[in-house]
């Protein structure tokens, strides 16, 4: 991970004139940041960890029924940006965020906004599957319970089943709903976490490298799932796998050292990247 960053630095250290121009032109991200059918609109987001700026003036839309992939070298701020979208950065005392993020036209970065309903609307799946040490059933029922989404046991049972079905896990676990969620395989655990997120009926699902702890088969199942989930949700996914970004996303955003360098339709980013840094990254010259 360090080597990647170092390579980036040395590249910038021996820059050509055009590189330099491009480096300084980060005030404007290349490509189309807006989405015609935007669910979330982020404008001029800056994030600092103590005095270190991790995200610099990033603007990006996430459209309805759209999967946006975020790629870039390690440490470039993908996770940080993703965590702005459901204000998970609030849990990090030294993190400071400014800018504007609108969910369905409503500002969510205001201090006065309650994060509880926001996080129900913008769910998150983490890199490492993190089921609670409870039964499979209780894992799914956790969110609906704290938000009071159901009024009766049968309703809750239904919700659990629907969520597990959507996450493609129902058939595998329907006979052992009372067993511990931590006893599932890694891929099943990750789908359990997705089901848990779905259970509170969010509008947006954020995924931070959801497959990096999984084997290729489990990865393929999750990727397929993401494609199906697009029908109901907006999805922002961070990934280190270029192929994965190409397979699951409609738009791709390339981050570099806290800047959003380039964003556009996935096909275009991978076939005709406009920025040199993007091209270097996706052709595997570093990262």
């Amino acid at each position: 991970m360090n080597t990647a960053v170092q390579v980036v630095n040395t590249r910038i250290g021996i820059v050509t004139a055009t590189d330099l121009e491009q480096d300084q032109s980060f005030t404007r991200t290349l490509g189309e940041i807006t989405s015609p059918n935007a669910r979330m609109q982020c404008r001029n987001i800056n994030v600092w960890y103590a005095n270190k700026q991790a995200i610099k003036d990033v603007s990006l839309d996430i459209g309805k029924h759209e999967v946006v992939a975020m790629i870039g070298p390690s440490g470039c701020g993908k996770s940080t940006f993703l965590r702005c979208l459901n204000r998970m950065n609030d849990t990090i005392p030294i993190a400071r965020v400014n800018g504007s993020i609108k969910l369905d036209g409503k500002e969510i970065l205001d201090r006065g906004i309650d994060v509880v309903p926001l996080r129900a609307q913008v769910g998150m799946v983490f890199q490492k599957p993190n089921p609670f040490p409870k039964s499979i059933y209780e894992n799914i029922a956790y969110g609906p319970r704290i938000h009071g989404l159901t009024t009766s046991r049968t309703e809750l049972d239904e919700l659990v089943e629907i969520s597990l079905r959507r996450a493609g896990l129902w058939n595998e676990v329907k006979d052992r709903l009372n067993q511990a969620g931590t006893g599932l395989s890694g891929g099943q655990q990750q789908r359990l976490c997705i089901a848990r997120t779905i259970a509170v009926s969010p509008e947006v699902i954020l995924m931070d490298e959801p497959c990096s702890a999984l084997d290729p088969i489990a990865t393929a199942i999750i990727e397929e799932l993401i494609d199906e989930l697009r029908a109901h949700y907006s999805i922002a996914i961070v990934t280190h796998s270029m192929q994965q970004a190409a397979r699951v996303s409609q738009r791709t955003a390339y981050f570099h050292l806290g800047d959003l360098v380039e964003v556009g339709p996935t096909e275009q980013i991978f076939n005709q990247p406009q920025h040199k840094l993007t091209e270097d990254y996706i052709t595997g010259r570093f990262g």
């Binding site: 998150m124 704290i146 509170v200």
Partner: protein, 463 residues
């Protein structure tokens, strides 16, 4: 004096042997530049020589100390004229021997000094100086023998490091088995004394009797000659006080642990945690007089103000103070297990829109619960075994009551009172202390085993 000088001499010889052994090793391969031809570093040959010089000599000294006195005594007694010993019982003989020894070392004797006794004392004295010379010369020759063995073995191919290390290993095993054997010895002696007790008093009376008054009469015909040894009042007293202590310690300890690990800022935490842990460092005797002199009178005054009768040494006072003492136990153990709950659990819960208190109650607490239970069990076993506070604050009356305002007594207090003062070692009264001790030991051991099992199982869950 003689012996410590000898030990010093052995030590000096070991140092010398080390130097000689090391130098010899270097010389055997022809100087420092050829050290790599040696199997081990030169110092190991030095240690090897030192061990050969020291260990046999030390063993000899140990053996000698154990036997010298006995052998000399036998020799002296054999030399006594038959007229002096023939009519003596064992007890008188040992008195006589004592006199001889005292005379020999220049102490005051009890009887009159006859010429025979004087002769025996001289003989004794003489034997002792012989023995001393013998020991010294034997030690030196054994050390010299050891040195020459080490000297001859010091060859380039000799694996001195492996030898030295296996000897050290042996010594370590010896010492650690010493510790284990001591523990075993204590347990066994308590066990045997308890068995003696249960031969005098039936175990049903002990475990199910509700009357505790362990008075044994001085004369057999005294009124109430047989005490009664029903330990139930002690058990209930112990339970009552421990229960009160846990009622104080568990909520306070747990809530402070949750506050410190989940809510407090790092600044508050860095200040509050050490302060809380200071509580664990206060000597229990200080808690004891705090309970007896401050808390107990306070409770009595308050109780009387609202018209309750409160004993001046109430279970409540002892329990409250003991609870305060145990708070840091519960809080630091709970703090550990709460911190062991991975951050990803918290993140997962927050990301679903849970508030902090929901996360604590529904995710962190259940996840940490087994560990917390383990911690509480450890605290209970600590409370049951606690002695000082209850001795000072709980009183001696073995009342069978659940009233926290009454005076009760505990197992540990009774052990202390049974064994303080002059005792016969085979009376039921004294032996009862061992039976109580054994019961206490078994209960706390069981609690600890269960607690450790739970804690360990819980630890594995996230690893």
């Amino acid at each position: 004096m003689n012996i410590s000088l000898l030990l010093l001499a052995i030590l000096a010889m070991m140092v010398l042997a080390f130097q000689v052994g090391r130098n010899r090793a270097v010389r055997v391969v022809g100087g420092h530049s050829h050290i790599r031809h040696l199997h081990s570093l030169p110092a190991y040959y030095g240690y090897y020589a030192a061990l050969w010089v020291g260990i046999p000599a030390l063993l000899l000294v140990l053996l000698w100390i154990g036997l010298q006195e006995r052998v000399i005594t036998i020799l002296v007694v054999e030399q006594l004229p038959p007229s002096l010993t023939v009519a003596l019982s064992d007890g008188h003989l040992s008195l006589l021997i004592n006199d001889i020894k005292n005379l020999a070392t220049g102490n005051i004797t009890s009887g009159k000094i006859t010429s025979e006794i004087q002769a025996a004392a001289d003989h004794y004295h003489q034997l002792q100086s012989f023995a001393s010379i013998g020991l010294w010369s034997l030690v030196f020759s054994i050390a010299g023998l050891g040195m020459s063995i080490a000297w001859h073995r010091t060859q380039p191919a000799f694996r001195a490091r492996n030898r030295v290390e296996s000897i050290l290993l042996l010594i370590m095993i010896l010492f650690s088995s010493l510790a284990i054997l001591t523990t075993l010895g204590i347990v066994l002696s308590v066990l045997f004394e308890s068995i003696q007790f249960f031969q005098k008093i039936s175990w049903t009376e002990f475990f199910f009797g509700i009357q505790w008054s362990p008075q044994i009469a001085l004369r057999a015909d005294q009124v109430g000659a047989s005490g009664s040894f029903g330990a139930i009042p002690l058990f209930t007293g112990t339970l009552l006080i421990s229960g009160i202590a846990m009622l104080v310690a568990v909520p306070i300890g747990l809530l402070s642990a949750i506050y410190l690990s989940e809510y407090a800022s790092t600044r508050v935490r860095s200040i509050a945690k050490p302060i809380l842990e200071i509580l664990a460092g206060i000597p229990t005797v200080v808690y004891g007089f705090f309970a007896a002199l401050t808390v107990a009178p306070l409770i009595r005054d308050w109780g009387e103000a609202i018209g309750l009768t409160v004993a001046s040494e109430s279970a409540l006072a002892a329990g409250l103070v003991m609870g305060v003492m145990i708070i840091p136990f519960v809080s630091s153990l709970s703090d550990d297990v709460i911190n062991a709950v991975p951050q990803s659990m918290r993140d997962g819960s927050y990301a679903l829109g849970a508030t902090q208190s929901e996360t604590v109650r529904r995710v962190i607490f259940p996840a940490a619960l087994p560990g917390i239970v383990g911690g509480v069990l450890l605290a209970i076993s600590r409370a049951i075994g606690e002695t000082m506070i209850v001795v000072m604050a709980a009183g001696l009356a073995a009342n069978l009551t659940a009233n926290p305002l009454a005076s009760v007594t505990t197992v540990t207090v009774q052990i202390v009172t049974l064994l303080t003062g002059d005792q016969e070692f085979d009376s039921a009264k004294t032996l009862a202390a061992f039976a109580l001790g054994l019961t206490l030991f078994v209960v706390t051991l069981m609690l600890n085993v269960i607690a450790l099992h739970i804690v360990r199982k819980y630890r594995e869950q996230y690893e």
